[in-house]
């Protein structure tokens, strides 16, 4: 099953996917393009993995880390499907990052890898834009690079975990203006989903609607105002958004 959150008719609604559209809890249906998409989850604590694909780490001239490199995001950065991401006009190195996002469904601490999926509600797609012009070597990647308003599109849906046979074997793809620029597979993660759930819950309690963005594979490319960026994860759909210019 796929669930989403939309705005329609002046209110926020939880919807489920129907053939070619969405269905509200009162039975009304709309086409996907008729509604305003919101993030399908209101992310609570949001963990993001840096350098979690070996090919991406080498692309950035890093050794893959020996322990997960994890940073956190605030709520200001999230937007839904089909929305606009602001690109500062001065930026020269703004990159998309297509990622599998894991939505936690149950509170847990000291979770073992073997039980990790019991704590997962489902999966969605995130595009973790980075503006590398602002990188500094303090708590890197710093929030000025990674926690900007509108710079983390997420959605369109949460696909329930039952619908995904093996989340560690999903193709990822990013297209810019229809041209494929990034391809990879979740098989190549350095630290797997069960490993990350065990690791994070070994020192902190995970809660429902916490989200783990699991990192991006090789294939960075710059984006510019006017670009349409589509992030795809096999079995989860396509998360589309548009880059707009933001004067400083």
């Amino acid at each position: 099953m796929r669930k989403g959150r939309i705005a329609i008719g002046g209110s926020i609604q939880e919807v489920v996917q129907q053939e070619d559209g969405v269905q509200l809890s009162d039975g009304r249906t709309y086409k996907e393009e008729e509604v305003t998409w919101l993030p399908p989850v209101e992310p609570q604590t949001t963990f993001v993995l840096g350098l979690n694909y070996a090919d991406h780490a080498s692309e950035l001239a890093f050794e893959p880390p020996k322990e997960p490199l994890v940073f956190l995001k605030g709520p200001n950065t999230f937007i839904g499907h089909n929305a606009e991401t602001k690109r500062p006009e001065e930026a020269t190195h703004m990159h998309y990052e297509c990622e599998l996002a894991v939505v936690i469904g149950k509170q847990g601490k000291h979770i073992k890898q073997a039980e990790a999926y019991d704590y997962v509600e489902g999966y969605t797609i995130a595009n973790d834009y980075a503006i590398r012009d602002y990188l500094e070597n303090y708590y890197r990647p710093n929030l000025k690079v990674k926690n900007r308003d509108t710079c983390t599109p997420i959605g369109p849906w949460i696909t329930s975990k039952e619908a995904i046979q093996d989340p560690m074997n999903l193709a990822l793809r990013t297209k810019v203006n229809g041209v494929t620029t990034q391809e990879g597979t979740t098989k190549d993660m350095v630290f797997s989903i069960p490993f990350l759930i065990e690791y994070l819950s070994s020192f902190m309690t995970l809660q429902p609607d916490d989200v783990i963005l699991t990192g991006t594979p090789k294939g960075l490319a710059k984006v510019n105002a006017g670009d349409i960026v589509e992030a795809e994860v096999e079995g989860l759909g396509t998360l589309k958004n548009t880059i707009i210019a933001k004067p400083e």
Partner: protein, 254 residues
């Protein structure tokens, strides 16, 4: 002094206007101390952001390291981190020492609570976006390196005592001259003053909201002073910020 507090009642959680005396006792409007037991709750709801390296003494201590790897040059933007919800803990609640460490470092900090969404705010207007001030103890596991995000050191459960209340902004005309005292087992062991901030409260709000919005109810901790005391199991820590409040927590084994 007037403040907003969240207090757990027998049947419902109440968001109360409270008044307190010079000795931080809750009182009625005539100044008579109430002797009822309070079950304090965390008085904020948004995201709690911390700022590293915002005291001049800390910057000076790191001065030569900043020129070397992995830093290479001093920081330009505010160095931010997040204290996620699992870390929040109210006044008078315990903080647990994880099994894998022996000592925790205290983090006495002034917390600025936002009244409304603040985006690209000028220093002149910054205080208009503030609802009030609170006391935070940004507890962490001692660590030297600032190179990578330190969530394992900063984001353990209960590592962010905050409260007891949010002091109305009308009670404080100048947040940049507040004395901060830290007591361990009732001994005064550390003092600092927000006059030593590298970025004043106004400038910090301005420089942060230049690249990310702060929302209603969010908390911006303006910085942890240099050389804060370490504590271990069975210690009691009090952080007292002039005019704002006093936050007390016990340290206990996990």
């Amino acid at each position: 002094m007037n403040a907003k507090a969240l207090i757990q009642g027998s049947s419902l959680t109440k968001n109360l206007d409270v008044q307190f005396t010079k000795n931080w006792d809750i009182c009625d409007e005539n100044g008579r101390v109430r002797d009822t037991e309070m079950n304090w709750e965390v008085p904020v709801t948004g995201t709690i952001y911390g700022v590293a390296l915002n005291y001049r003494e800390t910057l000076q201590a790191y001065e030569s390291a900043f020129q070397e790897k992995p830093y290479n040059k001093p920081p330009e933007a505010p160095v931010l981190y997040i204290k996620p919800k699992n870390t929040w803990t109210p006044h008078q609640a315990p903080v647990y020492v994880p099994e894998d460490v022996s000592e925790l470092q205290t983090g006495p900090a002034l917390g600025v609570v936002l009244k409304q969404t603040a985006t690209q705010v000028s220093p002149e207007d910054a205080l208009d976006f503030v609802a009030g001030y609170t006391v935070v103890n940004d507890v962490h596991i001692p660590h030297e390196s600032l190179h990578r995000p330190a969530i394992k050191e900063q984001a353990r459960d209960r590592f962010c005592p905050i409260g007891p209340w949010v002091l109305n902004t009308s009670e404080i005309s100048d947040p940049d001259h507040l004395q901060i005292k830290t007591y361990v087992n009732d001994q005064l062991v550390h003092e600092a003053n927000t006059s030593s901030l590298v970025r004043s409260v106004r400038h910090l709000i301005s420089d942060v909201t230049a690249f990310m919005s702060l929302g209603k109810g969010d908390v911006l901790m303006v910085g942890v002073p240099h050389g804060t005391p370490r504590v271990k199991s069975s210690d009691t820590v009090k952080v007292e910020i002039e005019k704002v409040g006093i936050l007390e927590n016990t340290i206990q084994p996990e």
